[in-house]
């Protein structure tokens, strides 16, 4: 079940045969219910987009329940007031190394767990898998103290310690996410035919070559799914930067939301535009790579 499920999820699913049944009353009720739900579901986002495109003076006179006053100015102003150029850059500094190193570390452990049968395999897998399930606050106290007391020269860090540095946030993101990726990747690698690496073994390929040149390329679908998912998660992470960073200019997009509230509070058209700006990267991923997102999520959680 495991193997077939995973293959199916990663390959584009063939469309089921369209055998449409005649419309029965039950079907009509069902469709009606789903349409209502779907409209309600999309509404909060649509409402934000709609009002982000309208002039504040127009809506303050006519109310938000109106049509007209369309403009793009809110985006221009929200962009500069929210300092989004800076915060998006900060997010990139955190997301790119976090995801790359997470996948590297996870694939190494997963390779060993999938290709060798050591007695400690199951324990190790449990150790990694469970790490991602702890509440983040469970780690807060010691990590906070560790970073503050980890002294660095002021030439390297403005705070004189690891606190308020990207390294701290990146390291914690990596540690927290590696477990989940290890779990998904080791399951995926177990579905690869063993003959492949055994043939390479006969050719005299070492462990490193078998990992890097044979198994990893075969894992591309799983790696793509995980990378998509991890980029979304780390982008969306709010807590670690709030906990371990202090300087407003260094905050990534999601964590800087806590400061934006005051900035935008009086002008809801601006607040709408700001919300849409923050949502755009993940919504783009959603529309372009939904298949990968779904594969990543379901592989991790409902494997089996």
């Amino acid at each position: 079940m495991t193997a077939t499920l995973q293959k199916e999820q990663l390959a584009p699913r063939p469309r089921p045969q369209q055998r449409r049944k005649p419309l029965r009353p039950a079907r009509v009720v069902l469709q009606g219910f789903l349409i209502l739900m779907a409209v309600g579901w999309i509404f909060p986002i649509a409402w934000a987009v709609y009002n982000s495109l309208r002039d504040y003076d127009f809506t303050s006179v006519n109310g938000y329940f109106s049509v007209g006053g369309f403009t793009l100015d809110n985006y221009i102003e929200a962009w500069s007031r929210g300092n989004f150029g800076q915060t998006f850059y900060n997010t990139a500094i955190i997301v790119i190394p976090s995801v790359a190193i997470t996948l590297l570390l996870a694939s190494m452990v997963a390779f060993v767990l999938a290709r060798f049968s050591f007695p400690f395999n199951l324990t190790l897998l449990a150790l990694f898998t469970a790490a991602n399930l702890l509440p983040q606050q469970a780690l807060l106290v010691p990590l906070f103290r560790l970073f503050i007391n980890f002294e660095l020269p002021y030439s390297v860090s403005d705070s004189g310690s690891l606190y308020d540095t990207y390294v701290a946030v990146i390291a914690v993101n990596i540690a927290f996410q590696t477990g989940f990726c290890t779990f998904v990747l080791s399951n995926y690698m177990k579905t690869l035919p063993r003959e492949l690496t055994e043939a390479a073994l006969v050719d005299g390929a070492g462990v490193l070559r078998r990992y890097w040149q044979i198994v990893l390329p075969l894992c591309r679908p799983a790696l793509a799914a995980l990378a998509t998912l991890q980029i979304t998660w780390v982008y969306n992470d709010f807590f670690w930067a709030v906990a371990f960073m202090r300087t407003g200019d260094k905050m990534p997009v999601t964590s800087s939301l806590q400061n934006l509230r005051g900035q935008f509070f009086t002008d809801y058209n601006l607040l709408s535009a700001g919300s849409v700006i923050v949502a755009i990267p993940t919504l783009v991923i959603f529309f372009l790579l939904q298949r990968h997102l779904r594969a990543g999520l379901t592989l991790g959680a409902t494997k089996g």
């Binding site: 399930l133 990596i174 939904q290 959680a301």
Partner: protein, 293 residues
């Protein structure tokens, strides 16, 4: 293994050791340290040598001498119960509905899934546009004017419910997706057999599908509990978890990163979170590791 050369042994050892050091050093080590610190009076400033063990003192203080503690526990429990009865159940129902051949099934799935890619902090922002007292949609729709207008995120009697609606909006799609993946993996022969036996759809689901879905059900149980316990971002974005939005997670954070750094006390609160989540992590691991064999 018999064919491992010396270089290979070293490679394998490193491939295991480096990630393990990272995860143990930055996740399990700190979690254990949290538990230990919860029995001390350390204020975070003095050297580790000055730490005094104070037994259960911090836990006693939390339960008897810390007003936000009671509300936080109640709010977390309410969050959990509401999440189960609302979004989790709705997600399952939607999954069952969308699992059949249905016009537009993929589109519905995409729409319900969309909020899942937004952070909970941003969800708080987006719903602020609906909940705001002066400029929000809800008061306008309800026709409330002047003093009758409600600050849905600010009023401590109702803001938790407003937050739960917003957070549930996101949680539902997540559960739907997981359950749908589980349903797709159910052997179609089972349904056919039930149909041949003349069982109706509801009966088929309850008697045939539900039992087969046990692994997915457990995963969903664990995810819902853990997400309820982890709830943080949206409360922090709204008012840093005060005034009706106290949660265990916000209390820990307030006690640790604020000016008054109460390390031992904050650790005690965090340890309570660890204890609860450990129960469900173990349930999850038993389920998952059973499948590994």
């Amino acid at each position: 293994m018999r064919t491992l050369s010396g270089v290979d042994v070293l490679t394998v050892a490193l491939m295991i050791a480096v990630p393990t050091v990272v995860v143990v050093g930055l996740v399990w080590g700190p979690a254990l340290a949290t538990v230990l610190l919860s029995f001390t009076d350390w204020n975070g400033i003095g050297s580790l040598g000055e730490i005094n063990f104070v037994g259960w003192q911090n836990y006693e203080d939390a339960t008897t001498n810390y007003p936000p503690f009671g509300p936080a526990i109640r709010h977390n429990i309410l969050w959990l119960v509401v999440f189960f009865l609302g979004p989790t159940l709705l997600g399952i129902v939607l999954a069952v509905m969308l699992d059949r051949e249905l016009r537009g099934s993929r589109i519905y799935q995409s729409i319900f899934f969309m909020p899942v890619v937004l952070s909970l902090a941003l969800v708080g922002f987006i719903w602020q546009l609906i909940y705001s007292r002066d400029q929000g949609l809800l008061n306008e729709v309800l026709g409330l004017e002047g003093g009758a207008r409600i600050d849905w995120f600010g009023n401590s009697d109702i803001n938790l419910w407003a937050v739960l609606v917003a957070a549930g909006w996101r949680h539902t799609g997540y559960i739907m997706l997981l359950y749908l993946a589980g349903l797709k993996a159910v052997d179609p022969a089972l349904r056919e057999a039930a149909a041949v036996d003349g069982a109706g759809e509801v009966r088929t689901f309850l008697r045939v599908i539900w039992p087969v879905m046990r692994p997915v059900n457990i995963v969903i149980l664990v995810i819902t509990v853990i997400e309820s316990l982890r709830a943080f971002d949206i409360a922090w974005v709204i008012n840093k978890g005060r005034n009706g939005l106290e949660l265990l997670s916000t209390l820990v954070t307030q006690n640790v990163i604020g000016e008054a750094s109460r390390v031992g006390f904050g650790s005690a609160l965090a340890t309570i979170m660890i204890a609860i989540s450990t129960v469900f992590i173990v349930i999850y691991l038993i389920q998952v590791m059973r499948e590994q064999k």
